[in-house]
């Protein structure tokens, strides 16, 4: 009975995090972008500095008509937003928030689990791009697939470097083995992982697949109402997962002063600092062209991650 109750509480907690944190990141993006561009951003909804703007947006999306284009493949078109969103919910289950068992479910191969379900999430964009029966959407889908194929490899190699350093692929195990000097040791891998994560989420400057000024939001051109909102939500949930995962793998997750009682706070601070960085990069850098994007992955990130892997192996042999 207690185990059932325990599992239920954990599921509800993960669901709450999944429902609340992406909205917080979205609202932060509104305000941070606005201030960086010398604007105020939303100010009216909810009263205090427009805190309820995203809730209002959600209500607006729910009221809109849900249109499926006549030429589209109905079932796949309607299924795609769920395929894009749900993997991030699953990924959150395995990410530790604090020391001990302050996480949804400790998995023996947690690192692989998170990366695997994130890979499934991208199928949603591909399905949307194909099923819309729209040339812009198809172009977006093709670009998504090409980008994913290019950036999945450096991401995995960078993650493998941390797994090598810790001697385990369990996320709790990696955090258990963490020492502060891992941060400088794995810094290159951290850079590669974070940048590949951005590319996998199709965030600027890697947003060629959804470039709104060229191919009209790519795979999401034909989506309206709630389904479009689900795609937007999956983007913010993706920022949360990538930031949290980078914090766990490369910044030591809950490690910090008084980690036993304040571990969760350190984890949240690191995650949101990285999420802020994601927004900052979006405001700062212009979009990479498709060929620049591919060249960056194959000629910069993959050699860097291989070098990191070699460095990790050498240090690991020397210190053991």
């Amino acid at each position: 009975m207690t185990t059932t109750l325990d599992a239920l509480v954990r599921c509800i907690a993960v669901l709450l995090v999944f429902l609340v944190f992406p909205l917080v990141i979205g609202q932060t993006e509104h305000k941070v972008m606005a201030h960086m561009q010398g604007r105020l951003g939303p100010m009216y909804a909810g009263g205090f500095h427009g805190w309820a703007q995203l809730v209002a947006d959600g209500v607006k999306f729910a009221q809109k008509e849900d249109v499926v284009p006549a030429g589209a493949d109905r079932k796949i078109f309607q299924l795609a937003p769920a395929v894009a969103l749900l993997p991030y919910l699953l990924a959150l289950v395995a990410i530790p928030l604090g020391p001990g068992d302050l996480l949804g479910q400790s998995l023996d191969a947690g690192l692989f689990f998170v990366l695997a379900v994130m890979g499934v999430g991208v199928l949603g964009s591909l399905m949307a791009g194909w099923a819309s029966a729209n040339k812009f959407s198809l172009l977006g889908g093709i670009r998504t697939a090409a980008q994913l194929l290019a950036y999945e490899l450096p991401m995995l190699l960078a993650a493998a470097s941390v797994a090598m350093a810790a001697g385990t692929v369990s996320l709790t195990g990696i955090l258990g083995a963490f020492h502060w000097w891992w941060v400088p040791w794995q810094i290159v891998g951290g850079f590669v992982f974070f940048v590949s994560g951005l590319a996998e989420l199709q965030r600027p400057p890697f947003d060629m697949p959804v470039a709104d000024s060229e191919i009209i939001f790519g795979a999401y051109t034909e989506y309206t109402g709630l389904r479009f909102a689900l795609f937007l939500l999956s983007e913010y949930a993706g920022i949360l997962v990538v930031s949290a995962l980078t914090a766990v793998l490369f910044l030591g997750g809950w490690h910090g002063p008084m980690a036993d009682s304040l571990g969760w706070l350190w984890m949240l601070l690191k995650t949101f600092a990285l999420a802020f960085l994601v927004i900052w990069i979006r405001v700062t850098y212009p979009r990479l062209r498709e060929d620049q994007l591919m060249r960056f992955a194959w000629t910069v990130l993959i050699p860097l991650s291989l070098a990191q892997l070699a460095l990790t192996g050498i240090v690991k042999v020397v210190i053991s």
Partner: protein
């Protein structure tokens, strides 16, 4: 092998299956159905998506056998990379919405025969090899550690041979895709 296998005893009967075994069979039937749909559907992209279902179902089967690491690698490599590559190829060449009448091959009966023969061979082999041995699911036999130990202690030669094979394929792909220098 480090499979915790025990000879069949009176506690394991075919007529009193445990919950995990029932789920295993049901998921297996689901995988079979998805695989059949993959090869029979008239729509190319639907075939690729049914393949996702079949491969994901296989990952669940691995999970039920406590091979967690293999399950996630299955999802990561097959669903996350191979199917994405297939979809990329389809979208890059042609992927019409609706049926593709020319997707049918005249070899379908021959293909069916080959598939049935291969399945019969494999089923016979596996059944004959394991007979009545029973995997004890209580002790986790497929953890990441157990996989690593058996891979790099007992199967290191096939592992290295496979990596050389992949390297050869990689080099071959680069050579094939390299553009020839045009003579002036």
């Amino acid at each position: 092998m480090n499979l915790a296998a025990a000879p069949l005893d009176s506690t394991h009967g075919f007529l009193s299956p445990s919950g995990a075994e029932i789920v295993f069979v049901l998921v297996g039937l689901g995988v079979l159905g998805a695989a059949l749909l993959t090869v029979t559907t008239k729509q190319l992209v639907h075939a690729a998506l049914w393949l996702v279902v079949a491969l994901g179902g296989l990952a669940i089967e691995y999970l039920l056998l406590t091979a967690e690491f293999i399950a996630w690698v299955q999802v990561l490599i097959y669903v996350g990379a191979v199917v994405v590559l297939v979809l990329f190829g389809l979208m890059l060449t042609r992927a019409p919405i609706g049926a593709s009448p020319d997707a049918d091959s005249g070899n379908r009966w021959l293909a069916l025969g080959v598939a049935l023969a291969a399945a019969a061979t494999l089923v016979t082999l596996v059944v004959d090899a394991f007979r009545c041995t029973w995997i004890d699911l209580g002790t986790v036999a497929g953890s990441t550690k157990a996989n690593g130990v058996s891979l790099f202690r007992y199967w290191v030669l096939p592992f290295e041979a496979l990596s050389v094979l992949l390297l050869a394929a990689l080099v071959g792909a680069i050579i094939l895709s390299r553009r020839e220098k045009k003579e002036p």
